[in-house]
C-alpha cells in the first residue's frame, strides 16, 4: 500500500452525522487542567477476578504467597477472558468475596494483596521492534498482559485483535471521542502520552492489516488533537476531528460518523469490517508489547464538587475507591452519590470500598447543587423530544408505554434491544421520566422470560422423551412377551403334535 507511507493528516475526510444526540454541559475543564499524577501506594489492593466481559479468571496464587509486581495472579479462562497481574509486589492475604463496582452493588471473588512497599518488578520481556514479532506473537502478548477494553465495556482486547472470520478489516478506529461530560482520562492520556497511543495503534494495525487507520476525536480537545497530529506524522494514521455531540463516542455512532456504515442490529462492528479500540487500550497494548508490562494500572478521572483536587490519577488496579478519594480531599459528608463513570451512563456505587478496576475511567462525586437529584416525575405528554434526540432512532415514549404495560412483544417489535442506554431520552424528557430505567427493567424481564421459556422447553423435551422411552420400553416388553407367548404356543403345539404322533405311533404299534 503506497498510501501507508504518506502522511494523510492534511486530507479532509468527509464526516457523517448520526441522528439525534445532545450537547450537555461538558464540565471537562474542572479536571483536565492538571497533569496526570501517580496515586500513592494504598495499604491493600482488592483485585476482582472478573474485571472484563467474559468468564472470570482462575486464581493462581495461595494465601500467604509472596508475589512480584507484574506477576500473573489469575489466568484467563476460555476464549473470552482476561488474566490478572499483581499491581505491586507483596503478600497475598486471601481470596474472598468483596463488594465490587457493579450497578447491583454485588460482591464478587477477589484476591487481596498487601503491598510490601518494595514495588519490585518481575522479569519482563521488552521488545524494541514489534515488526520482529509475528501477529500471533503479539496477540499472545496482549492476551498474556490481561488487557481488556479500557473505555468502559471491558471486552478482552486480544479477541478484538483477530480479524473477523478471517475477513479483511477495512477500518481500524481508535475511539478518542470521550463524549461523556466530566471524564477527561483519555484527553490527558493523549496530551501526555500521544506516542504510546499512536504506538499502540500501529501495533494493532500491524496485526489487523486494516485498509485505513482513523483516530476519532471530538473538537473540544484541541491540545489532545495537536498532540495526536504531531505523533501521527510519518504514519498512515489519520486524526479525524469530529464535532462534539453526545454520544459520538458510542461505538455505533462513531462508526457512522467516520464511515457512514451502520452496525446492523444484533451485530458488532467487526461484522462490517470495522474494528474499534479505545485510546487507553492502545496505550496498554503499546506498553505490553514494547516493555512487556501487563495491565496493572489505569488513568482515572477524579472529579465532582465533593473532591477538592480534581484531576486524573494513574492508579493501581485494586486501589479502594474510598482510600483513593481520601488522598485528594474528598468530603464524604457532602457527597450523597459516588458515580463510577460519567453522569450520562455511569452507575452509582453502593459503597466506596469497592476497588478501581480495568474499566474505571472516572469516579464522580458530585454535590447536590452540581447535579440536582431528579425532580418529581410528571405524566408523559408524548411530546417526542426523546424520539427526536434518540441516537438509535427508536420511539422511546412508545417503548415506555409498552414497558409499563408489560407488553414486551410490542416493545421488542419497537426494537427495545437496540437501545444503547445512553440516557439521552431521560435527559431531554420535560416530564423527568426515568425512561432508561424502564428499558433496563423491560430488557431484564424479557431475558428472564426467555430463560424461563428455555428451561421449560428443555423440561418439556426431557419429559416427552422420557414418555417416549417408557412407551418404547412398554412396547418392547409387550413384543417380547408376545414373542415369548408365541414361542411357548409353538412349543406347546409342537409338543402336542409330537405327543399325538407318539400316540399314533404307539396306536400303530398296538
Amino acid at each position: 500500500m503506497n498510501s501507508a507511507l504518506s502522511p494523510t493528516a492534511t486530507r479532509k475526510r468527509k464526516l457523517y452525522e448520526f441522528s439525534g444526540g445532545i450537547h450537555p454541559q461538558e464540565m471537562k475543564s474542572v479536571s483536565n487542567q492538571r497533569a496526570i499524577v501517580t496515586a500513592p501506594m494504598p495499604p491493600k489492593l482488592i483485585l476482582p477476578l472478573q474485571q472484563h466481559i467474559g468468564s472470570p479468571g482462575k486464581a493462581l496464587v495461595e494465601p500467604g504467597q509472596h508475589v512480584l509486581k507484574g506477576q500473573k495472579i489469575a489466568e484467563a479462562q476460555g476464549r473470552i477472558s482476561a488474566s490478572l497481574h499483581a499491581p505491586t509486589s507483596g503478600t497475598i492475604k486471601g481470596l474472598q468475596d468483596f463488594p465490587v463496582a457493579h450497578p447491583s452493588g454485588m460482591s464478587d471473588l477477589c484476591i487481596e494483596l498487601i503491598p510490601d512497599g518494595k514495588d519490585q518488578w518481575c522479569d519482563l520481556t521488552a521488545c524494541e521492534h514489534y515488526e520482529h514479532l509475528s501477529p500471533s506473537e503479539i496477540q499472545a502478548k496482549v492476551r498474556e498482559a490481561g488487557i481488556a477494553g479500557m473505555g468502559g465495556a471491558g471486552f478482552p482486547t486480544e479477541v478484538k485483535l483477530h480479524p473477523p472470520h478471517n475477513d479483511k478489516v477495512a477500518t481500524l478506529i481508535l475511539n478518542a471521542a470521550e463524549c461523556e461530560p466530566y471524564i477527561t482520562a483519555d484527553d490527558r492520556l493523549i496530551r501526555e502520552r500521544a506516542h504510546e497511543v499512536v504506538g499502540g495503534m500501529e501495533i494493532m494495525a500491524y496485526v489487523l492489516q486494516p485498509g485505513e487507520c482513523v483516530i476519532g476525536i471530538e473538537d473540544n480537545k484541541p491540545e489532545a488533537i495537536a498532540a495526536l497530529q504531531d505523533a501521527v506524522k510519518n504514519t498512515r494514521i489519520e486524526v479525524v476531528v469530529i464535532p462534539s455531540k453526545y454520544p459520538s463516542g458510542g461505538e455505533k455512532q462513531l462508526v457512522k460518523i467516520l464511515t457512514d456504515k451502520e452496525v446492523p442490529s444484533g451485530k458488532i462492528p467487526a461484522d462490517i469490517g470495522v474494528m474499534c479500540q479505545n485510546v487507553g487500550t492502545a496505550a496498554a497494548v503499546y506498553r505490553a508489547v514494547r516493555f512487556g508490562e501487563p495491565l496493572i494500572s489505569r488513568i482515572t478521572t477524579l472529579t465532582g464538587d465533593c473532591v477538592e483536587q480534581k484531576g486524573n490519577v494513574e492508579v493501581l488496579l485494586g486501589t479502594p475507591v474510598d482510600w483513593l478519594l481520601a488522598q485528594y480531599g474528598y468530603h464524604p459528608d457532602r457527597s450523597r452519590r459516588v458515580i463510577a463513570g460519567g453522569p450520562m451512563m455511569g452507575f452509582t456505587l453502593d459503597s466506596t470500598q469497592v476497588p478501581i478496576v480495568k474499566t474505571s475511567n472516572c469516579i464522580l462525586a458530585p454535590s447536590e447543587t452540581e447535579l440536582p437529584l431528579a425532580s418529581h416525575t410528571q405524566a408523559c405528554i408524548r411530546c417526542s423530544q426523546c424520539a427526536d434526540a434518540c441516537p438509535a432512532e427508536l420511539l422511546p415514549q412508545q417503548l415506555y408505554w409498552f414497558a409499563r404495560a408489560q407488553e414486551y412483544d410490542k416493545a421488542e417489535h419497537h426494537n427495545l434491544f437496540d437501545c444503547i442506554e445512553c440516557g439521552i431520552c431521560s435527559y431531554v424528557c420535560p416530564s423527568s421520566i426515568p425512561l432508561v430505567q424502564y428499558y433496563r427493567h423491560a430488557k431484564g424481564q424479557i431475558k428472564q422470560q426467555r430463560l424461563g421459556q428455555q428451561k421449560s422447553d428443555q423440561a418439556r423435551i426431557r419429559f416427552e422423551s422420557r414418555q417416549r422411552r417408557l412407551e418404547q420400553e412398554k412396547e418392547q416388553k409387550a413384543a417380547k412377551r408376545k414373542a415369548r407367548a408365541e414361542a411357548a404356543a409353538k412349543a406347546q403345539a409342537k409338543k402336542k403334535a409330537s405327543e399325538t404322533q407318539a400316540q399314533a405311533d404307539t396306536g400303530e404299534n398296538t
Binding site: P343, M344, R382, Q385, Y427
Partner: protein, 348 residues
C-alpha cells in the same frame, strides 16, 4: 450506608413541561392581540373567563381524585386548554357557553380519561365541539363583525354586559364570517361580487388575515424554540392548501386558497391546536400524516359540510386515528435496512 443508589443518567436537561406550556401561552398572545384589535374585547374576556373556569375545575377534580393540586396546576396544561377554547369561541359567546365548553373539556375530556397525558382527544376541541353542536345558534351567529366596519365598536363594558346577558346582542354587531359568506354566496354569484363585500376588506378577509398572521408568527416562534414539531403544522397547511389550490383555482366555484389559509382558525389550528402532543401522533412521519389528515378533513368539511369552519371536527377525527398512525409510521432504527410496521411482529 448513606450513599444513594440511582439509575443513570444523573443529569437532566433544562426542558420542563411547564416551560413548554408557558411558551404556548405566550406565543398565543400576538393572535389574541389581533383578535382584540379587529373583533373587540370578546376573545380577551373569553380567554380570561375560560382560564378561571379551567383552574377552578382542574383544582376541584384533582382534589376529588386525591391528587396534589399545586403540583398539577403548575404544569399550566389546564390554562392552555382554556386559552385555546377562549380563542376559538365567538367573541360574543354567552358566558355559560364558555363555562360549559371549558368545564366539559377539563372534567370529561381530560380528567375522566386519567388526566394530563392520558386523554385520547384534544380536550379544548372536545369542549368546543360539544357547545358547537349543542348551541348552534349561539356559536355560529355570534362572531363579531370586524371593528373597522362598525361606526362605534362596543367597548369593554358593553361587551361584558352582552356576554353576561345584561344587554341583548344588538343586530349589527355580528355576522357571517368570510369563510361562511364565500361558501354560501358563491353558489349563486361570482368571485368578484362576493369579494366586494366589505368583510373581505382589501386583502383576503378583513381582520382575519391579521389574526391568522398573529398566530402564524407565534407558531413560527414555537417552531424555532422546538416547543412544537414542524411536521404537524406543515401537514395541516399542506392538507388545506393543496385541495384548495386544486379545486379553488376557479374562484367562481370554490373558496380560493388564500381565503382558506388566512381566514377562520387555520393558523390557530395548525400551530396551536393540532400540535397538542398528547392526542397527536408521535412519530415524525406520523405527524405529517396526522397534520395532513386534519388539513384535508378541514378542507372537506369547510367546502361540503354545513359548518363554516372545521378545525375542531378534523382534529377530533384525526385523534381517533393517531394511535393507528403511530403503529404504521415507526421510524427506521439505527442498524436496520427498513422500518418495521404494525404493532406486533407478523406471525410466521
Amino acid at each position: 450506608m448513606a450513599l444513594l443508589t440511582l439509575s443513570s443518567p444523573h443529569i437532566k436537561g433544562p426542558q420542563k413541561t411547564a416551560n413548554m406550556m408557558r411558551w404556548v401561552i405566550v406565543m398565543a398572545l400576538p393572535g389574541l392581540l389581533m383578535q382584540t384589535v379587529f373583533f373587540g374585547w370578546g376573545n380577551l374576556h373569553n380567554v380570561l373567563w375560560c382560564g378561571i373556569v379551567a383552574i377552578v375545575c382542574e383544582a376541584a377534580i384533582l382534589k376529588l381524585r386525591k391528587r396534589p393540586v399545586a403540583f398539577y396546576l403548575n404544569d399550566y396544561s389546564a390554562l392552555v386548554t382554556a386559552i385555546l377554547i377562549g380563542l376559538a369561541l365567538p367573541p360574543f359567546a354567552p358566558w355559560w357557553v364558555s363555562l360549559i365548553a371549558t368545564a366539559f373539556a377539563i372534567i370529561f375530556a381530560k380528567h375522566l380519561y386519567g388526566g394530563m397525558g392520558y386523554n385520547p382527544f384534544n380536550p379544548a376541541m372536545v369542549g368546543y365541539a360539544l357547545v358547537l353542536v349543542s348551541f348552534p345558534v349561539a356559536m355560529t351567529t355570534n362572531w363579531a363583525i370586524p371593528s373597522p366596519l362598525l361606526n362605534q365598536p362596543p367597548g369593554i363594558l358593553e361587551t361584558l354586559s352582552i356576554i353576561w346577558g345584561q344587554t341583548p346582542l344588538p343586530d349589527g354587531y355580528t355576522g357571517a364570517t368570510p369563510l361562511d359568506t364565500y361558501k354560501h354566496e358563491i353558489a349563486h354569484s361570482t368571485a368578484a361580487t362576493v369579494l366586494a363585500s366589505p368583510i373581505f376588506g382589501s386583502g383576503f378577509s378583513l381582520g382575519w388575515e391579521w389574526v391568522n398572521a398573529g398566530f402564524l408568527l407565534g407558531g413560527l416562534v414555537l417552531l424555532g424554540l422546538k416547543v412544537i414539531p414542524w411536521q404537524t403544522p406543515a401537514g395541516v397547511l399542506a392538507g388545506i392548501a393543496i385541495p384548495a389550490f386544486i379545486f379553488g383555482w376557479n374562484a367562481d366555484q370554490y373558496t380560493p386558497i388564500m381565503v382558506h389559509l388566512l381566514s377562520g382558525a387555520t393558523m390557530l389550528g395548525a400551530f396551536f391546536i393540532a400540535t397538542d402532543p398528547v392526542s397527536s401522533s408521535t412519530t415524525k412521519l406520523g405527524r405529517l400524516v396526522y397534520g395532513t389528515g386534519i388539513g384535508v378533513l378541514t378542507y372537506i368539511i369547510r367546502t361540503h359540510g354545513s359548518y363554516p369552519d372545521a378545525i375542531a371536527f378534523a382534529v377530533l377525527l384525526m385523534n381517533f386515528a393517531a394511535p393507528l398512525i403511530d403503529i404504521y409510521t415507526q421510524p427506521r432504527s439505527y442498524g436496520y435496512v427498513n422500518a418495521k410496521r404494525g404493532a406486533k411482529p407478523k406471525d410466521k
